[in-house]
Symmetry: C2
Subunit: 117 residues, 2 copies
DNA sequence: TTGCCTCTTGGCAATATTGCCATTCAACCA
DNA sequence: TGGTTGAATGGCAATATTGCCAAGAGGCAA
């Protein structure tokens, strides 16, 4: 089990950088909102409920990762999704969560199953 | 732009916990290897090239997130993927990386385009 | 039992992330 | 020009992540 050409570590580092950008609740919330329409920083700030500077930094992380793009209009900055695969991302994450829930329920079911005393 | 029922923060926290488990190059490498077959900790350790205890901790993070499951056999522990949606996850991440690359090339292209001097 | 092997856990230092405040910047208006 | 507004940046403390070494824990075999 060696790595070499089959598993270039740089590839996984690049992937991890993108995944890391997606791994924060506030950023996920913003992405979900942005999947409907373009939004300015002020709207996103209100949505997230954090300090404006915090939201701005989150957005710069997403932008750096290539997940969103921005557009200036006067004094405002509008952000929009740059990728269309987010739905697949949600689907994957949600399927993990759903499976976890089922596993938990299975444990409870076993413990309280009729005839299990 | 309010949150309320439409955007329960707990949902995004749960999603972020899973995404965070996926956001590390060594863990992504292991997941990729596990997508082919079940592997023991010793094999994964050799693959990753880190200390065995480090790999064990990475695996416990993946297990905690519900992404992998383990099975003991004698003194060895085998890990396997617990989800089947990882391909979609790769697809999404890779499409971001590909888009980033295209954007970079577009910039270079503009800068060096014929007649742009 | 003892010793060996595989893996997990505790502990710790180095590093990275997060979120606020304060400040700066840029566009707009009076 | 100065003032206002929306956004980005600097700085900093609190927190989380990472990865190693050392120390268990458990199975197996002599």
């Amino acid at each position: 089990m060696t790595r070499k050409a089959k598993h270039p570590i740089e590839r996984y580092e690049a992937r991890a950088r993108v995944a890391k950008a997606l791994a924060h609740p506030s950023r996920l919330l913003m992405l979900d909102a942005l999947s409907e329409r373009e939004l300015c920083v002020c709207e996103l700030t209100e949505l997230v409920g954090a300090d404006q500077s915090t939201v701005s930094k989150h957005l710069s992380i997403l932008k750096q990762a290539g997940v969103v793009a921005d557009r200036k209009e006067g004094t405002m900055t509008f952000y929009r999704l740059k990728i269309c695969c987010l739905q697949e991302f949600w689907t994957c994450i949600e399927s993990v969560l759903r499976q976890n829930l089922e596993d938990q329920q299975a444990v409870i079911g076993d413990r309280c199953a009729p005839g299990s005393r």
